[in-house]
Amino acid sequence: MQEVTPLLEFRRVGKRFGVVHALSEVTFPVRAGEILALVGENGAGKSTLTRIMEGEYQPDTGDVVIDGAPVRLRAPVEAHAAGIRVIHQEPDIFPDLSVAENLFVGDLRRVAGIFLDRRDLAARTCALLARFGLERSLSPWTLAGALSAAHRQLLEIMRALRAGVRILALDEPTSSLTDDETKLLFSVILRLRSEGVALVYISHRMPEIRALADRVAILRDGRLVACRAIAELPEADIVHLMVGRPVSTLFDRPPTPLGEVALETRGLTTTRVRDISILVRAGEVVGLGGLMGAGRSELALAIFGQDRLMAGSVMVDGAEIRLRSPADAIAAGIGLAPEERKSQALLLMRSVAENVTLCVPDRVSRFGFLSRAAELLVANEQVERMRVKTPSLDQLVSNLSGGNQQKVVLGRWLARAPRVLILDEPTRGIDVGAKAEIYRLIAELAANGIALLVISSELPELIGLSDRILVMAAGRIVGEVPRAEATEQRVLNLAMRENLSQEAA
């Protein structure tokens, strides 16, 4: 490659949090008109690096260099002024403002000094949309809150472009997008590359990286372990470099002998799911597949007593349970690791020990008084078993990486030794290493006779883990696929056929 001054360069960048080296001696360039994939396990330092790019954090050592000159970015405003934007997984949009207002917020022209110039705004918005071929799918006056995840993401990218972005980082942009939406996003990304924008693309998805990236930078434990052209690195090597050990990317759980029916629902109906009757046996892993919004998480919340039942019943080990709140479900031996770790599962401002022992009050207290020794013992048992990487049991859970946070959630339920465990997207946003460990754990739990209901949007994962797969669409179970016949195609067909017939009806 021709040696021109790179648009952005990290030079020996280091950042510490207390005793933890989040980044050390990270050096690599990002050139105009290239897509650089940034990969690494969770906790490897990718987020810290994007936050430094964005001016949220300042490096302790080293420099961020733009156009060959070191700069100090003390706040996001300064990063924006320097032409840097980071698009996060959850786009920052104003849900109650229109597409046009979101795009041009801060630059709204006025008529007669006071009134909003809607005509000018519409014209400028349409011009911008046309540039990305989005003029048909997006109307300037749609409320941003009503947009799909992909369109919100595109909205934020366009806003960045309008402000004259030169360096754009995207943090796992496709994690909540459908295939079509992903294609749309990719076409926008490729167009930006051809326009000379320097792109940093963070993702766990190997096919995407292969399809988009020119080069790949791999971080491990805060250090750069490789930065090479994508063509020089086969997939297995990338994974190997990320994890530091060879990892099988395929997962196939050995089937275990099934026991009695542990969980049964009959005609379960809430406002969001209808007439659900399912069986899960002890030692069985039942996968729950379907598209976004098919009602899978809602079914989990219904079984767990969070959503009020309008009809139907839930039985554990053959006995019907009175389900008024999650407390009833937990008492009956059900556990749930919900979809949103941070907002539904973890007390971020509390310690690892406290989060692990949250559901086992009897084991950590006597006559209502906490026993510190018992708490640490119970927590340590689970932390060891789950191999949670944490400097101490008193570490705030918010300081752990996603994979370790998920292990804390699982440890919480294992401390209770549940009969039934519902895992909603157990590996979302988790790096390959931690994923493999969670698969191993699911296999172990099933072998120990726990009934598992696993929700996942990643089809290979769903197929690899499940004894059979129930497919949901529009709040109902629309089909069942046994393990032997499970293919991505079959599951998808079931999930989508129902959608089509719904629309036709």
């Binding site: 207390g18 933890v20 434990d221 767990f304 969070q306 709140s325 999650p326 407390a327 479900a329 937990i330 008492a331 749930l336 919900p338 907002s343 539904q344 599962a345 973890l346 007390l347 971020l348 401002m349 509390r350 310690s351 020990a353 406290e354 949250l358 559901c359 009050p361 950590v364 207290s365 209502g368 008084f369 906490l370 510190r372 020794a373 640490l376 013992l377 340590n380 932390v383 060891e384 990487k389 944490t390 400097p391 101490s392 049991l393 008193d394 570490q395 705030l396 300081n399 919480r412």
Partner: protein, 335 residues
């Protein structure tokens, strides 16, 4: 981090030699800065009125003055940690004093009257708790409403009059001493100690932190949020009833207007100064108590240095806003 050092640090954790994590460090830093603020206030007022400020009599005055605020503020700390707010405490104090006075006049029994005062507080707390949880009304609005209503009840019970208490046994609470220290201060210490143990060493306290920190997580972990929230409002009400007893004993009367001089404002100020986040889940009893001490020294110092009453009011309001401002700054900086 490699396997051995991780295992080592875990073992360390288990045998109890735990390094302080960031949260504890922040709390410790916060309490330390409160101590410094307190020291500065003492230095200023000590320098301005060296003749009076350090006299044992004045220090006891401060103690006497903060006893009522102290129990209210530490209870308020718990309410705020649980994610709520109780603005009605001043009115509950008023209701409590008139009930106590009425019962003493009728029966002559100190025990019965105190029981009545606390019972009124418990009922008031239950009402607040039910409105907030079952009714789903925002805590600020709910207790703003009951603040007005409870004040009205206090006037109805007393027919708008101040009711004098001549009962000697009862008055002892206000001016008696035990081991040379006023009984009111002993009561304050007992209440603060009980709250400290509750929030630090009991399951209930830990669950209150959990519910205030994230109610969704707490519910999905099987906690009965509603029961805890109602319990916290009852605790706040009962404490206000107890504060009513202290006030009635000190003034020797039950007055429907008592507690209307911004007690709730001062209690909230102290709690926020002490490091409570109004969003819940964060704060400590020790911090709340330090907040009270600062307010107490400030009030006392302003009186000693003859700051006019109206200006004192302005100062208290400014202090509340300053406390929130500082807390907000810290939140932004440390997340």
């Amino acid at each position: 981090m490699d396997e051995t050092s991780a295992a080592q640090s875990r073992t360390q954790a288990v045998i109890g030699r735990v390094r302080w994590d960031r949260a504890h460090q922040l709390i410790a830093t916060h309490n330390f800065s409160l101590l410094i603020a307190l020291a500065i206030l003492i230095a200023i007022f000590g320098a301005l009125r060296p003749d009076v400020f350090f006299l044992a009599r004045n220090i006891q005055n401060i103690g006497q003055a903060i006893a009522i605020l102290g129990v209210l503020a530490t209870a308020q700390t718990i309410v705020i940690i649980s994610g709520g707010l109780d603005i009605s405490v001043g009115s509950v104090v008023g209701m409590s004093t008139v009930c106590i006075a009425t019962v003493v006049v009728w029966t002559g029994s100190t025990t019965l009257s105190i029981a009545a005062g606390i019972a009124v507080g418990i009922v008031a707390g239950l009402v607040n708790g039910l409105i907030v949880t079952v009714g789903g009304v925002n805590a600020v609005i709910a207790t703003l409403g009951t603040m007005a209503a409870f004040r009205g009840v206090a006037f109805i019970i007393s027919d708008g009059q101040s009711i004098p208490i001549f009962d000697r046994d009862f008055r002892v609470i206000g001016d008696g001493r035990f081991l040379g220290v006023q009984i009111t201060i002993w009561i304050l210490l007992a209440v603060v100690a009980a709250f400290f143990i509750l929030m630090r060493y009991t399951l209930a306290g830990r669950n209150i932190y959990a519910i205030g920190g994230n109610p969704v997580v707490a519910r999905l972990a099987g906690l009965n949020n509603r029961a805890y929230q109602i319990g916290v409002y009852i605790l706040s009400g009962a404490t206000a009833g107890l504060a009513g007893m202290l006030l009635a004993a000190r003034t020797g009367s039950g007055q429907p207007v008592s507690g209307s001089d911004g007690l709730e404002l001062q209690a909230i100020t102290a709690a926020v100064l002490g490091g409570c986040a109004l969003t819940g889940g964060k704060g400590t009893i020790v911090g709340g108590l330090l907040g009270v001490l600062i307010l107490g020294v400030l009030n006392n110092g302003m009186i000693l240095t003859s700051v006019p009453t109206f200006y004192q009011m302005v100062a208290r309001g400014v202090l509340l806003i300053a406390a929130v401002l500082i807390a907000e700054q810290q939140r932004q900086r440390y997340g």
